[in-house]
């Protein structure tokens, strides 16, 4: 699928997991062209669309950046009109509308995660064609195929922040270890009511699993 994307693509691993009191959103940092050339080792795939709402991108980098630009503007405008921070669902809906209405042309998928006062921590998936789903945790991108088993087996609802960080780090490390178009560093963002915390784990500090 990734080889059909023209231009720079984020063949990628992205994930978002809710825990007790917040949500962790994470990704790798590799951008590739045609599955054979790494055009960036340090691309940012975690885009802040509002104070407590992040989204991570997969697919064509140009399309994803264009969509998040438009979404950032619309969410910001919506928040000013409502005179209150936007709901995570609203942000996810904005992305969904953009993806669905332009589905013939665009090739980008998103995971939106954040915290709002109404429902607390939430995770939404916006797939390629514009499907919107709410889930307690979700994984995406080409590298996600290698960690469905791990994620299903190891996820527990209501984890603590440390447990959740470990879960997300392990999942990313496993996916990056098997998927050739995922790699670089692991970016993690912890979103809670109090604020937003970035964690960056360089490739050599990631947990190792039988790396002979």
């Amino acid at each position: 699928m990734d080889s059909q994307i023209k231009g720079v693509s984020t063949g990628t691993t992205i994930l978002a997991v809710t825990f007790n009191g917040g949500v962790i959103i994470g990704s790798d940092s590799r951008a590739s062209i045609g599955g054979y050339y790494v055009s960036s080792k340090t691309i940012n795939k975690l885009i802040q669309v509002h104070d407590r709402i992040f989204c991570c991108i997969a697919g064509s980098l140009a399309d994803a950046q264009a969509v998040t630009k438009a979404a950032k503007f619309q969410i910001s405008f919506h928040s000013i009109q409502m005179e209150s921070p936007p709901l995570v669902k609203a942000a996810a809906s904005v992305l969904k509308e953009l993806c669905y209405n332009n589905k013939e042309e665009l090739q980008a998928g998103f995971i939106t995660a954040g915290w709002d006062r109404k429902k607390g921590p939430q995770v939404y998936t916006v797939a390629l064609g514009g499907m919107l789903l709410s889930q307690p945790f979700t994984i995406g991108g080409s590298g996600s195929t290698y960690i469905y088993g791990y994620a299903d087996a190891k996820y527990k609802p209501d984890m603590s922040k440390e447990e959740c960080l470990q879960f997300a780090t392990n999942a990313l490390a496993l996916a990056m270890g098997r998927d050739n178009v995922s790699g670089g560093v692991a970016h993690l963002v912890v979103i809670t009511e109090e604020g937003v915390e970035h964690v960056v784990i360089p490739g050599d500090k990631l947990p190792k699993f039988h790396n002979e």
Binding site: A31, I43, A66, E105
Partner: protein, 274 residues
């Protein structure tokens, strides 16, 4: 957002015009019964890096049209604003016009707002213009109130903020040199030498890059556009004069045929000069 924008911002949020243009171009240049010339491409090596005092951009100067070198001293480093310059790789027409448009936009913005443009603003406008455009890949570098910046605008319109960069057909060769010797916060002379070496490597390893090397140094104090920084070591020296003097070709016979033309219709249009 520019206070007075020459570009029209599409109301739907996306501008897919470039997709139609790309399809039309492909069908025009491929099967067509007329042999349309290939668009003038700057098969190119361009590079840039951020150093302690500013940003150094470099480029080769060869423009190719198919297998022929169309321009031996082509300028690939384009002026955007007094503190921002842009190197372009890809279809020469695309890079020229895009950078021209951007430069005009930013000048109008400067006049209206009374502020110098920031590099991040230039990059955002470029991204909007080049969404889905395959013709141009750009390296944008500049110094503004927030520091020294280097951005890449890739094919189809993706952007990335990086400390060093090479693009064009000679990018892999140039990137090898940059990856080996780049260090953060380099001194100016060392940085210029590194960019020169990177472009030189691209020129040596890529057939479509060549001739001279241009360097553009942007600092808070101003811009030093050194064109050329280094002339080609392989400039050929003409052995003879290749001009043909009058009388070189002898005339064997001459025949003059007067053409009888009669005036069929005569119209006079007076110009209104006020």
């Amino acid at each position: 957002m520019a206070l007075s924008n020459v570009l029209q911002i599409p109301t739907s949020g996306f501008n897919f015009e470039n997709v139609a243009i790309n399809v039309a171009l492909e069908s025009l240049l491929e099967g067509g019964h007329t042999k349309t010339p290939k668009p003038m491409k700057t098969g190119t090596t361009i590079a840039g890096l951020v150093c302690k005092e500013g940003v150094v951009l470099g480029a080769d100067t060869r423009a190719t049209s198919g297998e022929v070198v169309a321009d031996k001293m082509c300028a690939k480093i384009h002026y955007i604003s007094p503190n921002i310059y842009c190197c372009g790789a890809g279809t020469a027409a695309d890079t020229e016009k895009t950078t021209d448009l951007l430069s005009s936009n930013l000048t109008i913005f400067s006049m209206n707002s009374g502020r110098n443009p920031r590099v991040v603003m230039a990059v955002n406008i470029l991204q909007d213009m080049l969404f889905r455009c395959t013709g141009a890949s750009l390296i944008l570098g500049g110094v503004d109130c927030n520091g020294n910046h280097l951005y890449t605008v890739g094919p189809y319109g993706s952007i990335d903020n990086v400390p060093y960069l090479a693009m064009g057909s000679g990018d892999l060769a140039a990137l090898g040199i940059l990856e080996d010797r780049f260090k953060p916060n380099m001194e100016m002379e060392e940085a210029k030498e590194l960019v020169r070496d990177a472009i030189h490597s691209g020129i040596m390893s890529d057939l479509d890059s060549g001739n001279n090397i241009d360097i553009c140094v942007i600092t808070k104090q101003g811009v030093d556009y050194i064109r050329p920084y280094q002339e080609s070591e392989y400039k050929d020296k003409r052995q003879k004069r290749y001009k043909y003097g009058p009388g070189t070709t002898s005339i064997l016979t001459e025949k003059i045929v007067p053409l009888d033309l009669e005036v069929v219709q005569e119209t006079v249009q007076r110009m209104d000069t006020a």
